[in-house]
């Protein structure tokens, strides 16, 4: 394929300039040349934007961007390619799995810096192009001089590659049985593992059940000798590791993978001790490993967790909980007029709260703003000191709060450890619109549910 015409045009112009000027610093000269070319091209294209047509409401028609010798697009994203290669964190994985080789080039700050000289702020470029402001005639650069803003010098301005993990479908959907793998651990081991992952954003939002399943799923991996490569830079990554015993050296080769030869591992950039962890990006998707990890002593032990197990545990529990909420919601008479779609939106918005035995979930006399589903445990309703109702899993209370803000007619107290799923009237309306239209489609009265003949929590 021949070089683009526009490119050849530029190179010839550069050649003429070099011949004329005989610069001593060739590279700097070329950089300056292209920067000034870019600036003049921008100015040219902007002056065309400025001469736009008659404004119309909303978007005025745009001016014709007539092709001119300067209006080629030779300078595009390619100049900004300086991506994730210079990742300093050996554990995160630097490149996306689909990154091409260009993604391994080292960040060259100049590439980003040189543009600061020509920073024309975005504002004037098109202002009025369809905004209807036709009053300014001065060139854009005069209207707002380039400002030295905080354009991030380190940002990778290249094209970003998409990432994707394996498809996951909840087992309830595919009718197969799946139980997470389980490896027995001592209470001390569990404590150490908990400690190792507690600060990590991939784990710190998990509920108790999910945490327990994930801690159970970690598999012991003995590393019997010194010098064993646990992961190799550039390889596919499927596992996350926590160090139980021993220590590991971290090596990074700037080229992105292990090269042949004695120094092929690259530079040693760190040590990971017991309690540390590495390879967490593998829990997201399969990305090339950003570093090589080698055992630094004999008889080390690791705990390993693979991506599919991790993501599947999260998926199955989320899925199961959502289906549980949806089935609970189907039983709430006040919500019976909702479509499955609307109920699903509600299920998605429910928030979990926990109460210890004896805690009061709602107080008699307080204004009611939320309704509750009892997810686990037992609770009881009291009017004054008199117990009027017992609640078990799947029961609900306070749902009339969705219709009005009337004071609670009773208190509800946790009898055991209790988990409730709750939703406020505001959230309800935010999701589905005014309750009046939705919940009063059918009159809510005298529905026999066994739990709430009439809401005992609402005063007559």
């Amino acid at each position: 394929m021949s070089l683009p015409e526009a490119y050849q045009h530029e190179i010839q112009a550069l050649n003429r300039q070099v011949l004329q000027t005989c610069p001593s610093d060739i590279l700097q000269f070329c950089a300056d040349f292209f920067n000034s070319r870019l600036a003049s091209e921008r100015a040219a294209s902007l002056s065309i934007f400025r001469d736009r047509g008659t404004p119309s409401p909303g978007f005025a028609p745009s001016p014709r961007f007539s092709p001119s010798p300067t209006s080629h697009f030779a300078m595009m994203s390619s100049q900004f390619s300086s991506p994730f290669g210079a990742n300093s964190n050996p554990f995160g994985g630097s490149t996306s799995p689909m990154a091409s080789s260009v993604m391994h080039s080292v960040v060259e700050e100049e590439e980003n810096d040189h543009d600061h000289d020509h920073l024309a702020p975005g504002g004037p470029f098109f202002s009025g192009a369809f905004g209807g402001d036709a009053s300014t005639e001065a060139p854009p650069t005069m209207r707002a001089p380039p400002s030295n803003d905080s354009y991030p010098a380190q940002y990778n301005f290249g094209r970003r590659t998409s990432v994707s993990a394996e498809s996951l479908k909840p087992s309830a959907d595919s009718y197969d049985n799946w139980t997470p793998p389980f490896t027995e651990k001592t209470p001390e081991q569990i404590e150490r593992l908990k400690h190792a992952i507690e600060g990590n954003f991939l784990f710190n939002h998990l509920d108790d059940e999910q945490s327990a399943q994930i801690l159970g799923a970690l598999v012991e991996k003995p590393i019997p000798a010194r010098g064993i490569k646990v992961i190799s830079q550039g390889d596919a990554g499927d596992y996350f590791y926590v160090v139980e015993r021993g220590s590991f050296d971290v090596y990074v080769n700037a080229c992105g993978f292990i090269e042949p030869g004695p120094d092929g591992l690259g530079n040693k950039v760190g040590i990971i001790q017991a309690g540390g962890s590495f390879g967490e990006l593998a829990l997201m998707y399969n990305a090339p490993r950003a570093a090589t990890i080698i055992s630094a002593e004999g008889s080390c032990t690791l705990w390993a967790l693979d991506r599919v197990t991790f993501r599947r545990i999260l998926m199955e529990s989320t899925f199961a909980r959502r289906r549980m909420y949806e089935s609970f919601l189907e039983e709430v008479p006040i919500l019976s007029s909702l479509t499955p779609y609307e109920r699903s939106k509600i299920a998605d918005a429910l928030e979990t709260q926990k109460f210890a035995p004896g805690d009061t979930i709602i107080h008699e006399g307080d204004p009611g703003h939320s309704f509750y589903l009892l997810e686990s445990g037992e609770a009881a309703a009291y009017k004054g000191t008199e117990k009027v109702l017992s609640y078990n899993k799947g029961d609900f209370f306070g749902e009339l709060a969705l219709l009005n803000d009337a004071p609670r007619a009773a208190s509800v107290v946790a009898v055991t450890d209790v988990k409730v799923a709750t939703l406020g009237k505001n959230a309800f309306q935010r999701l589905l619109g005014p309750v009046e239209g939705l919940l009063r489609r059918t009159r809510y009265q005298g529905v026999k549910t066994g739990v709430e003949e009439m809401d005992p929590l609402q005063q007559e």
């Binding site: 689909m98 702020p121 991030p152 990778n156 993990a165 993501r311 779609y341 999701l431």
Partner: protein, 378 residues
Amino acid sequence: MAAATLAEAQPGTAALSTGMASPSNPCTDPTLEPLPPTRKFKLSDFKRVRTLGTGTFARVVLVRPANATKPLQEEKNPEVYALKILKKTEVIKLKQIDHVRHERAILADVAGHPFITKLLGSSSDHDCLYMLLEYVPGGELFSYLRKYRRFDEPTARFYAAEIVLVLEFLHEQQGGVAYRDLKPENLLLDQDGHIKLVDFGFAKRLGYKDDRPVETYTLCGTPEYLAPEVIHNKGHTTAVDWWALGILIYEFLTGYPPFWHQNPMEIYKQIVEKPVVFPQEPVISEEAQDIIRSFCTRDRSRRLGNISGGAGRVKAHPFFRGVNWDDLLNRRHRGPIIPPIRYPGDDQCFDVYPEEDANSTAYTAEMANKYDRYFEDF
């Protein structure tokens, strides 16, 4: 591990017939949703002009009829197309079978929307899958954004508004299609400066099962644009596109996305933990800040676009005040940037890519036996 994940992605290993597909002979695998029929063609019907873009397992090339003789620049009304070529081996290796089937099915369903590239035909041969698409000569919005560094608000509003119309169509009129890879790289400009959404590689029809809307769990997208619920694997819905639109408007107005880092794990950490902050320069208007924050709301039960009113609520946001949505949908006015297209088949708005693939693995008879059932109705 590899074995387990493979089984996840491609349930079942039974070898089925591997005959070439024809529109009258839809997929023989009853467990697969058959793909909507399309016009078929042979690779030899076309000749390659040059590559317009490359992905991990796909390449998009500008093609013209094999018998065309006149130089492209001399043709007043040239027949040119964008041909997307996917290698079966790579599709299998990267576990993208589900995704390419979704892409092909959805593109066939949505063909004709003014802001989506139109699928004109599809086909497959021994090694590759093909999708023939209309050629959109203006190049990627990404290129213009990087060139101008950022857009002013009227410009950003114009593109954002067209995207709102696309998302409204996909989410609300197409039975819950989530696009899942919104970013400037996937938006092309046509000759009048209007948006064309391309690359439906991650698009998925979520639809309904047992009367319930289905959420999906497969992590996919582009790191800077992933929604928090995707990172946390909480199950995601069309709400991820509204999150991404917030990120996109931010990037339009500042030139870079709100969450970025050289280490992708740091990006994800920011997405799930940090608020969107705006730079002092350029000054972002209150309305723009508000719509970005409303889209980039971690709790999707509060996220604009996903809350009551859906896309209608988005259109009513003050950021879009003054937009005539009907004019917009009917493309009554030209866009803020008119691409410098010299003739209809001009390819100068696209960057230049290497024409050869680095190294490719053969699609073996064994693979064909195992996997061709997923490709035969392509």
